[in-house]
Subunit: 200 residues, 2 copies
C-alpha cells in the first residue's frame, strides 16, 4: 500500500516572487528532482547550460516541439520555454517527485493535460510576492537593468499575478525560511495523498 | 486576499491508530478547535463530560437528531455518535480550523454533505496502524479488557481499515512524533488552499 507514484509539483509566480529559489532549494535538499526547462532566450551572466536551462536555438526548439517531446510550452516575452517529457515521466513512474518552475500558460497546459498519469501526479502552487512595493524592490534589486526594463517586468508580473485563482495552493511570500517551510509542508502533505498510492 | 474560511479536518482510523491522540494534540497546540462529539455510550474511567464527549441519553440524542442539530452521525458498536453543527459551522465561518475525530460512516456523510460551505471546508485523513501485529499490541495494551473484547475490537479495526481508499490523505502511523509532524504539515499545506480563500 505504501508504494506511490511521484508528484509533479508545478510552481508558478512572477519574477520577484522567489519561486525559482524555492524550487532549487527543494531539489538541492533531495526532496524532488528539478525539471530543467528548455528556452530559446540567451543565457544570462552566470547561467549554465543544462543546469539552469537547456538553451536551444529556435530551430531546435520547434523541431522537438513538432516531435511531441514537450509536456508543456509557452511563449514568454517573445521567447519559447518548455518542459521535456523526458525530464518528468520516468521519474514520476519510479516514485520520484519532480518540481517544475513554469509560467501560468505552462501550468494551464499541465492542468488540462490528456495524460491521466500527469493529471494524477500534478499539484500546483502559485507564489505571490508580499506586496507591490516589495515586488518592485525585488525586481529593481538586481541592479543590472534600466528603469524601462524594470517597469516592463513589473507590468508583466502584475499581469501574471492575476492568475493565482487557477491554482490549488497559494503561498504569500514572507521570508525565505517561512516560504520554504510552507513549501516543504506542502510536499510532506501531498506525499500522503491517496490518489498517488499505487495499487498493490 | 489572505482572509480564509476554516478547514474542517476530518480524521478517521481504527482504535489503536492513534488518531484521537493526534487530534487532541493538534487542538492543545492551538492549531485547531477540537469538535467534541456526542455519544450515547457510557463514559470510560477518566472521561469527562463536555471534554472527551458530550454524553447524552439515547432520548436526548434522538431528539437533537430529529431537530437537525447534527452535521453527521453514526452507529458504532451499538452506540450513537454524532457531531453537532454548533461545534463546527460558526468557527469555520470565522476562519478557525476545526478537527473532528469521527468514524468512517460519519466521514462519508461529511463528504456527501449538501452544504457547500462544509464541502469547501472539509479535508479528510485516514490514520492507519503500522501493521496488524502493532495494532493488536496497541489494542491489547490497555490491559483492561478480555481476550474476547480485544478480538472484537481487532475485527472492527480491520473492517474499518478497508475504507482508507475513500479518503484524500493516508497517514501510515509510525512514531508519535513522526505522525504529528505529518499532521501539522498537512494542516500547514491545507491553509494554502486557494479554494478556502474568501473573496476580498
Amino acid at each position: 500500500m505504501s508504494a506511490r507514484t511521484g508528484m509533479l509539483l508545478v510552481v508558478s509566480g512572477p519574477s520577484g516572487s522567489g519561486k525559482t529559489t524555492l524550487c532549487r532549494r527543494l531539489a538541492d535538499a533531495g526532496e524532488a528532482r528539478y525539471s530543467i526547462s528548455c528556452t530559446t532566450r540567451a543565457p544570462r551572466p552566470g547561467e549554465v547550460n543544462d543546469r539552469d536551462y537547456h538553451f536551444l536555438t529556435r530551430g531546435e526548439f520547434v523541431g522537438r516541439l513538432e516531435a511531441g517531446e514537450f509536456l508543456e510550452h509557452a511563449v514568454v516575452h517573445g521567447h519559447l520555454y518548455g518542459s521535456l517529457k523526458t525530464e518528468v515521466l520516468s521519474h514520476l513512474a519510479a516514485g520520484i517527485d519532480v518540481v517544475m518552475d513554469i509560467d501560468v500558460q505552462g501550468a494551464e497546459q499541465i492542468r488540462s493535460c490528456a495524460d491521466p498519469d500527469i493529471r494524477r501526479a500534478a499539484v500546483d502552487l502559485f507564489v505571490m510576492p508580499p506586496d507591490n512595493e516589495e515586488l518592485y524592490a525585488r525586481l529593481s534589486g538586481r541592479g543590472t537593468d534600466s528603469a524601462e526594463t524594470i517597469a516592463l517586468r513589473m507590468s508583466n508580473a502584475l499581469e501574471e499575478m492575476t492568475h493565482w485563482g487557477r491554482y490549488t495552493y497559494l503561498l504569500l511570500s514572507a521570508t525565505r525560511e517561512d516560504d520554504y517551510a510552507k513549501l516543504t509542508a506542502l510536499v510532506t502533505a501531498e506525499r500522503l495523498r491517496v490518489s498517488r498510492i499505487s495499487p498493490a
